[in-house]
């Protein structure tokens, strides 16, 4: 089976029913995407398929065979970190950091569809991503900062 991950085509041998999460982690070595619950309850495994945030722990790999998949490893470009990653770093969001790949992927998808979310919209869009360290106040702050960075980027 062929997949397009972070802009590259890769050939995989996992069974068709294998969740995308475990294909990414165990077959492709892309371990930035995390396992947290296995039942789409925690958001640690969030990746983008065709630009939308999905839970890779419940997505059979066969379902995304001909789709564009983006993981945390594909967020930075040659120019450096993405605006969302930059905002996360500047706001010093992470504590243990385990959920943050998923948080960043969720925030990136949110900002793509809503470039200027308010607090309630952020809360709504990010409610599926658990952070046990409780970095939530900084997540809110960082999403606003990322929105500002992206607006700045567009204006230059």
């Amino acid at each position: 089976m062929k997949l397009e991950v972070n802009g590259k085509e890769v050939e995989i041998t996992s069974e068709a029913d294998t969740p995308l999460l475990w294909v990414l982690r165990d077959e492709l070595g892309l371990v930035g995407t995390k396992y947290g619950c296995g039942v789409a309850q925690c958001g640690a495994c969030t990746v983008h398929v065709e630009g939308s945030a999905i839970r890779s722990c419940v997505t059979p790999v066969a379902a995304v065979a001909d789709k564009r998949i983006q993981t945390i490893e594909g967020q930075a470009s040659e120019q450096g970190l993405s605006p969302v990653q930059q905002a996360w770093l500047e706001t010093d969001v992470a504590q243990c950091g385990y959920c943050q790949s998923g948080q960043i992927m969720a925030a990136t998808a949110l900002l793509a569809s809503n470039p200027t979310p308010n607090d309630a919209e952020i809360d709504g869009a990010m409610a599926g991503n658990i952070c046990r360290c409780g970095t939530y106040p900084r997540i809110r702050k960082a999403v606003h900062l990322a929105a500002a960075l992206m607006a700045e980027e567009q204006n230059t």
């Binding site: 969740p19 619950c37 925690c42 450096g80 970190l81 809360d123 360290c133």
Partner: protein, 731 residues
């Protein structure tokens, strides 16, 4: 990937170009890297600092990083005295040898919110001593007085002659002149600090935004097999017999074997192991815990609470005063079992070769892991090597005295020629049998003519954390586990040098160690306070109400002889607008706590709807943690700590029926989510006192503050938890 960490993964390549040793390490399989570098070209200046000729400075960190910020504060301390940028320091987990044991615990253990306090002098001393050696080298080599030398950016400079040398370049001089570490060294005066006391971003933060931070679950070793364990339906049960025919026929499956924890399936991917595990046919012996039930615990503990316990504290004559009182307030508070639910589930890689064992494990407690494994395998303790990656949360779970998730990986790896990684599913994690113990606190109290608390009688019932463990001699006093009572004693007790900060004239506290149950009690962020703090601060609110005294005013009066807590409360009262009236359906609550040994107080505002749905609208937290080493880190620990506590009291609950845990995943063991997170204001009081902890201190006060605020808003006292079981849903 090596187990070295640098603060800036984006510049990792540059690092490696500068350092042959590091490049070599990076190409080695994990596990060889530490030795390769230690035996390489770098020079150990002392136990904590290694300098490489190419001027890479490496810190050996003897405290674990699980979100607590240990690596940030420790690198800041070292960098401050060594005059380097803390982000330029490379970092390795220090090996599990006694020279790296905590001076406080005398074990290799990161716990009790003591990292900052207990490393503040040792890490700075390590930096200052290394710097002194470098200065002596330059001074003697250049024949200039040491006092004329300055250091910055890992370089020694002599301004008059313009001579400069990097620390790495001076290693040759140190060797040639046989320069020895100084016996003593003068540390910087706080007025000279350039790094300490200023907000600093997380040392390993960059790897946590680009996905490159390596947690235990992420480690891949050549030939490694993944193991999934089918566990008994009752914690502590065992395998009678199993049939793995179907499982073994599945792709990638290598083996299935019985171990003490259950039946482990080994496969070439974790998913394949998980899938095959479901096909096992196992007959179980349900074991000694088959009849365990949490409702029975509550009933038994309530009955025990009505009987005299072991007397821990008896100030004045609480029983006499209560017997003579016209009115006695009585209440029983009941706290459930709680799982830790770290987002990275437990996992461990083990490799057993002859009489040696190597593990890769996220752990708070590696001297204990080493000890348990050495006992299990019958090999010398020093033959157990531990590689410690970053941890996806811990909250006490990875300080397991049973070393449960570690030793089972070793057992699974026995007889295998390759490393084996065991990863727990979330369901296994929630049902792991290691919990914040269930506690019942019975309280009786009275107020004097002025309305102030006069007599207090508290009986605590719950399973002891320390009884019968190797910690028994330190933490058990006359049979009383000091952790069972931490937070409800008015005076210092055992090795805990602090009391509640309150003064109630007649104060009696008794304790019952509930019978051992087969459930393993496990430290949960802020330990004893997770239950004593709720019982104490809520009952204080009940007495305030009885005496007609404002709860904030009550605490201010009770702490009048405790200068630090009194200051915290005075600032809190002002910052939280305590006297500003709130509208209907709204309420305010306050609580204050001392734990190891930082005074913290919080005030909250809640809004409660008719159906019991409530929001926590605002939390104001005032912290006195002595000298604030990293204000940015402290703020994060406070926000996170109170989120953990609030989620726990709002929804946290483990029910056991006939030995089986009823909850299994985040749908029935809910935790805090973003929409439920209150707005938090953190005020750190300036202080010249030595630094003390913040990692656990904010976890408890939020709980009674919210419960008291719900009473303030609705007039309803809540004495059993979680709040969701009492008709109050945090939204």
């Amino acid at each position: 990937m090596s187990e070295h960490l640098t603060a800036a993964p984006m510049s990792r390549r540059r690092f490696m170009q500068r350092s042959g040793a590091l490049l070599f390490a990076a190409q080695c399989p994990l596990g060889l890297s530490a030795k390769a570098v230690a035996g390489g070209t770098g020079a150990m200046m002392n136990s904590f600092v290694r300098i490489d000729p190419s001027n890479v400075i490496t810190m050996l960190a003897n405290n674990s990083e699980f979100g607590n910020g240990a690596y940030t504060v420790m690198s800041m301390m070292l960098a401050e005295e060594l005059d380097v940028d803390y982000r330029s320091i490379a970092l390795e987990a220090a090996p599990t040898s006694p020279e790296y044991y905590s001076p406080l615990f005398r074990e290799y253990l990161t716990a009790g919110s003591v990292t900052t306090g207990s490393t503040f002098i040792p890490m700075r001393t390590a930096g200052a001593k290394a710097r002194t050696m470098l200065l002596e080298a330059a001074s003697r080599d250049w024949d200039v007085p040491m006092a004329e030398l300055t250091t910055a950016d890992a370089t020694v400079t002599h301004a008059d002659t313009g001579r400069r040398a990097t620390y790495g370049e001076l290693l040759e001089v140190i060797h040639r002149l046989d320069i020895q570490p100084p016996e003593t060294v003068v540390l910087k005066d706080p007025s000279e600090f350039k790094i300490l006391g200023k907000p600093a971003r997380r040392y390993e933060g960059a790897g946590k935004v680009d996905g490159s931070a390596q947690f235990g679950i992420d480690i891949k070793l050549p030939g490694m097999l993944y193991g999934a364990i089918a566990r008994p339906p009752v914690y502590g049960g065992s395998v009678v017999d199993f049939d793995a025919t179907e499982a073994l026929a599945m792709p990638g499956v290598v083996k299935a074997k019985a171990i003490r924890a259950g039946v482990v399936v080994l496969a070439d991917s974790y998913w394949r192991a998980q899938k095959a595990k479901a096909k096992l046919k196992i007959s179980w012996d349900r074991g000694l815990n088959a009849k365990v039930s949490t409702e029975q615990f509550y009933a038994d503990y309530r009955a025990l609470a009505d009987t005299p316990g072991m007397l821990a504290e008896d100030i004045g004559d609480a029983r006499g005063v209560l017997d003579a009182a016209d009115e006695v307030v009585e209440a029983t508070y009941e706290m459930p079992l709680l799982a830790h639910a770290t987002l990275e589930p437990m996992n461990c890689i083990a490799q057993v070769e002859g009489d040696t064992c190597t593990i890769w494990s996220g752990t708070q407690y590696q001297s204990n892991d080493q000890e348990v494994i050495s006992r299990f395998l019958g090999i010398p303790q020093q033959n157990v090597t531990i590689h410690r990656p970053l941890m996806g949360g811990s909250f006490g779970r990875r300080s397991s005295k049973t070393a449960d998730y570690t030793v089972e990986a070793v057992e699974a790896a026995m007889g295998e020629s390759v490393p084996v990684q065991i990863i727990w599913s979330r369901e296994e994690d929630i049902r792991s049998g290691h919990y914040r113990p269930l506690f019942v606190h019975k309280l009786r109290g009275s107020v004097d003519d002025s309305g102030m608390p006069e007599a207090w009688h508290q009986v605590a019932v719950g399973q002891s954390l320390m009884q019968g463990t190797k910690h028994d001699p330190t933490y058990m006093v006359r049979g009383i586990d000091i952790y069972s009572l931490d937070g409800c004693l008015q005076e210092p007790f055992g090795v805990f040098p602090y009391g509640t900060s309150y003064q109630i004239p007649h104060h009696r506290v008794e304790s019952h160690n509930a019978p051992k149950s087969g459930i393993v009690p496990q430290e949960w962020r802020s330990v004893g306070h997770t239950h004593t703090g709720i019982a104490y601060e809520c009952f204080l609110d009940e007495l305030a109400h009885k005496g007609g005294i404002d709860p904030m005013e009550l605490r201010l009066r009770l702490t009048k002889d405790h200068a630090r807590m009194n200051r915290v409360l005075r600032v809190l009262k002002e910052k939280c607008d305590w006297d500003k009236p709130l509208g209907p359906g709204r309420g305010r609550g306050v609580a204050s706590r001392i734990y190891n040994i930082s005074p913290v107080a919080q005030a909250v505002e809640v809004t409660v709807a008719e159906n019991g749905d409530f929001t926590v609208d605002r939390v104001v937290c005032v912290v006195d943690c002595g000298f604030a080493v990293n204000p940015l880190g402290i703020e994060g620990q406070v926000e996170g700590g109170l989120a953990y506590g609030l989620g726990g009291v709002a929804f946290g609950n483990i029910d056991i029926v006939n030995g089986e845990v009823q909850q299994s995943n985040f749908h029935d063991y809910p935790v805090m989510r973003l929409p439920q997170m209150p707005k938090v204001e953190v005020h750190i009081l300036p202080s010249d006192e030595p630094p003390t902890g913040v990692g656990e201190q904010a976890t408890t006060p939020i709980v009674p503050a919210v419960v008291n605020a719900l009473f303030n808003a609705t007039g309803r006292r809540i004495r059993r938890f979680p709040l969701s079981s009492q008709g109050f849903n945090l939204v």
